[in-house]
Amino acid sequence: MNRPARALSQGFWTCLGCRQLVPKPPAASCLCPRCGARMHGRIDGSIMLTWALTITGALLLIPANVLPVMTVIYLGSGDPSTIVGGTLELYHNGLWGIALIVFVASVAVPVMKLVGLVLLCLIVQRRWDVSPRQAMRIYRVVNAIGRWSLLDLFMISILVALVDMGAIADVAAGAGSTAFATVVVVTMLAVRAFDPRLIWDVYEEKITAQPGLAQHKSHRENE
């Protein structure tokens, strides 16, 4: 039976800061001898921390979408607009390309990120029967898209300085933007707190319990 060797089961830790392989010390954690970062076999309390940050993000998504993020006043008139409202407005003005970009960055990405994080936590915790490659794909997508949801906030900060002409034209930020900024930061931290190696730990456990699965898997891996 061909089984890949895992660092942890062979008595090694990997430093996540510099990726140095270190023989497992007797303590629960230690400092990396090479870069000095704190090391654990797996990120300490990874799933719990990811859950906490994901739930915080999900709750904050409500004020982020309900409260206005920006008010554009043009020739004395203008309403505060929420994220979805701003996107719809762009769409109705015929700027559907920009509307799509803003929609993806500020509506789809945060929701996808939260859904992805919940799925990852459940895959590890509930031992869902998902192939680890699929789970890794979710992890990588969630990791890669995270930063793009700051797009709308950067745009607001540009417009606030740029369009400042008193009664004629003015752009002001709204309370929703603070909530939205926090959602982005919290979800980025949540992805960092999640340890993808747990996905493979669960998988290892499963193939130990079901040797047939291991046979199938090692064939695939040797291809």
């Binding site: 060797a5 392989l21 870069c35 930063r147």
Partner: protein, 238 residues
């Protein structure tokens, strides 16, 4: 570059013999799936991918340190005009206002959005600037044996700071603002924006060219030459 090498699988997969392997043979574990490897380094110009989960384990760029030194220095130089010159100008009737990298942050601070302003400041100014400074320090400082400790600390900070630099996202924000406001007034692209775009390109190039393994190998060589107790084995990217 771009070619993918899949070495390491022979050493990694045979688990039965894995238990009898001497511990010193293992050089690296995949940081995303914990698979163990014996062959630790990608050949120059190639990437080493994890055969199990596909994570990029090592990207060995040709002349990584020299390129990173040059790119981080040009990034620092480009930062000056990008921050000092206006990026966009918006004019309506006879009124006009300019946008620089910092006055958006100032306006948000003035309006009382402290958290949002700090976040924008950090992601679009401080993190990219810090990244260039750290990379310059790492690539120049790793040439001297005496700098090993501060360079190691800088490497750790770089690792944390790297994902918070968002020049590319800010650039897209500028484009959205440009299109969104163009039917209200007249939007003009100012010279600062060209410097900003150049800085963004240099920043991504510096990220890609930087290879921490090469720097660690350099530090290990210094330690060996000066006869100090060498830090744990880093393999040797020559």
């Amino acid at each position: 570059m771009g070619q993918e090498s899949w070495q390491g699988i022979h050493g990694a997969v045979s688990g039965r013999s894995g238990f009898t392997e001497p511990a010193a043979r293992w050089k690296r574990a995949c940081h995303q799936c914990d698979l163990l490897f014996t062959r630790a380094h990608a050949p120059v110009g190639q990437r080493l991918l994890c055969p199990r989960c596909g994570a990029t384990l090592h990207r060995n760029m040709d002349r990584s340190v020299a390129h990173t030194a040059a790119l981080s220095l040009s990034g620092l130089l480009l930062f000056i005009p990008s921050a000092a010159l206006p990026l966009l100008e918006f004019s309506l009737f006879s009124f006009g206002a300019e946008n620089t990298l910092l006055n958006g942050v100032q306006a948000l601070f003035a309006a009382g959005y402290l958290w949002l302003a700090s976040l924008v400041l950090f992601c679009s100014v401080l993190a990219p600037l810090g990244k260039f400074l750290l990379l310059a320090f790492i690539s120049w400082g790793s040439a001297w044996a005496g700098m090993a400790r501060p360079v190691a600390r800088a490497l750790r900070w770089y690792h944390h700071l790297q994902e918070w630099g968002m020049l590319d996202v800010y650039m897209l924000g500028i484009l959205v603002a440009l299109v969104k406001m163009s039917d209200l007034g007249k939007m003009t692209v100012e010279p600062g924006l060209y410097c900003f775009v150049a800085m963004m390109v240099v920043s991504s190039a510096a990220t890609v060219s930087f290879d921490a393994e090469t720097v660690w190998a350099r530090l290990a060589r210094h330690a060996k030459n000066s006869g100090e107790s060498a830090p744990a084995d880093t393999g040797g990217t020559q």
